[in-house]
């Protein structure tokens, strides 16, 4: 009964997300990224939950770090559109020193964005077991400090690029993880972000990525 109730709620949210995507994503407002945003919008409007679930990015074998031909942002665009990344084996940088750098940069969202985009140049690596502590850090910053700040002030109080990159990475993990906290962070931000919000970051198209990857995470849990 519990699982059915969860699946039903997620299906309703997916329907709501797809139904409201035209209002939330107006391609003409994204200038040079208009084409990408249009594609995401069309995909969400037309694809079924099963189609979305089928295109949830497959993660390589547990523990295996991979590299892609493209950088983090280009890879996220591809994954948002359901495209497959060309992956090859890679070697991860140590996680402890990365986590330390991430912690030190907690007051510097631009630096955090740079750090995350660099380490996760192949974004599926964010879902690997070795990244557990990083995921906890990212989730905690999203759901404690940033959430509180947005609720106390406005969405403009946080760095949009940094916020949306973290939400997109979280969505990749939420699609495959049994840990519902990550999916619920996406639920929470969907409810928190103003319906007509136009991010001011230089990568504002990440809003479309977040919606696309959130939709895939919902579809994966329903399926």
């Amino acid at each position: 009964m519990r699982r059915e109730l969860i699946a039903t709620a997620l299906a309703e949210r997916l329907g709501e997300l797809r139904g409201g995507i035209s209002a939330r994503l107006a391609p003409e407002k994204f200038r040079e990224d208009e084409g990408f945003v249009s594609e995401v919008r069309a995909l969400l409007l037309n694809a079924s939950a099963a189609d979305l679930n089928d295109s949830v990015p497959e993660v390589s074998a547990p523990g295996a770090w991979t590299e892609a031909d493209t950088d983090c942002l280009a890879s996220l665009r591809a994954l948002s559109l359901g495209q497959t990344l060309r992956l090859r084996p890679g070697r991860p940088a140590p996680v402890d020193s990365f986590l330390e750098a991430l912690t030190i940069s907690r007051g510097d969202p631009a630096e955090r964005f740079r750090l995350l985009a660099e380490r996760y140049s192949c974004p599926p690596n964010f879902t690997l077991p070795s990244e557990d502590a990083v995921r906890e850090h990212v989730l905690t910053r999203l759901m404690a400090q940033d959430r509180a700040r947005v609720e106390r002030e406005t969405i403009e109080a946080v760095n949009a690029d940094d916020l949306l990159l973290r939400l997109s990475l979280v969505a990749l993990y939420a699609a495959r993880a049994s840990d519902l906290r990550f999916l619920d962070a996406l639920n929470y931000y969907y409810e928190l972000l103003p319906a007509g919000w136009q991010p001011r970051g230089s990568n504002n198209w990440l809003l479309a990525s977040y919606f696309a990857l959130y939709a895939r995470a919902l579809a994966a849990r329903i399926g």
């Binding site: 519990r2 109730l5 929470y188 409810e191």
Partner: protein, 229 residues
């Protein structure tokens, strides 16, 4: 045992006061402290208004005249408040204030500050833990533990117990039911602490930290509670 109830208002503390004074050898006090970012004037005005308007006026006045209530003018973490707590020589604090405590405040109590967490530790730390327990198909419950400066990471658990919520018809009712058990659980925790053979359980930090739940999932929890009631 001198127990200080740390509260933002006298009415909130009265229920706990009545319950813990039943513990043999326990001497309860009420420490009223301003809510976070509240001015002294506002705090004083709020206490006076509550004293005049809320039920239990006579009992409140009796406690005030009996020097059982201490009105702090600065937040609990302020050095002035910490010094005053030290002078009161309290054995244990009972958390009923909307505060996060820093180490110097916690150490002002001989044993520490007890928190009646409405979730089972170590599994469920953080926010909305009753809701998270239910949506994950786990039992709801209460854990009374000595806090540290982390989020539900204090190592010493005094009392940990599952609580049946099947009589609750809604999420709000279930939450309120658990919150209202605080006085009773404080009393039981103090009784355990006074017993000769008490051994605390360990909060080993193996659980997860949970966060504020979305409206979507709270809706699911509401349906789970309705279905069980």
């Amino acid at each position: 045992m001198r127990a200080g109830i740390l509260a933002n208002s006298l009415p909130a503390a009265l229920r706990i006061y009545d319950e813990v004074k039943r513990v043999e050898g326990c001497e309860p006090f009420v420490i009223l402290c301003p809510a976070a970012e509240e001015s002294r004037t506002h705090s004083l005005a709020r206490h006076l208004a509550r004293l005049l308007l809320k039920r239990g006026r006579l009992k409140s006045l009796r406690l005030l005249s009996g020097r059982r209530v201490f009105l702090f003018q600065a937040p609990l973490d302020h050095p002035q408040s910490i010094a005053r707590l030290g002078k009161l020589r309290l054995d244990v604090g009972l958390h009923k204030a909307g505060s996060i405590y820093r180490d110097p405040t916690i150490k002002a109590f001989r044993l520490g500050i007890l928190n009646p967490h409405i979730g089972l530790l170590p599994e469920f730390r953080g926010r909305n833990v009753m809701e998270w327990s239910l949506i994950l198909g786990q039992p709801a419950g209460i854990t009374v533990f000595f806090i540290d400066s982390g989020i539900d990471t204090g190592r010493e658990i005094v009392l940990r117990e599952e609580v049946d919520l099947s009589h609750c018809a809604s999420l709000a009712e279930a939450r309120q039911y658990l919150f209202d058990l605080d006085a009773r659980y404080f009393r039981r925790a103090l009784e355990l602490l006074r017993s000769n053979n008490f051994e605390h359980q360990v909060n080993d930090g193996s659980g997860r930290r949970y966060f504020v739940m979305s409206k979507l999932f709270r809706g699911v929890v509401e349906k789970i509670i309705e279905a069980k009631s």
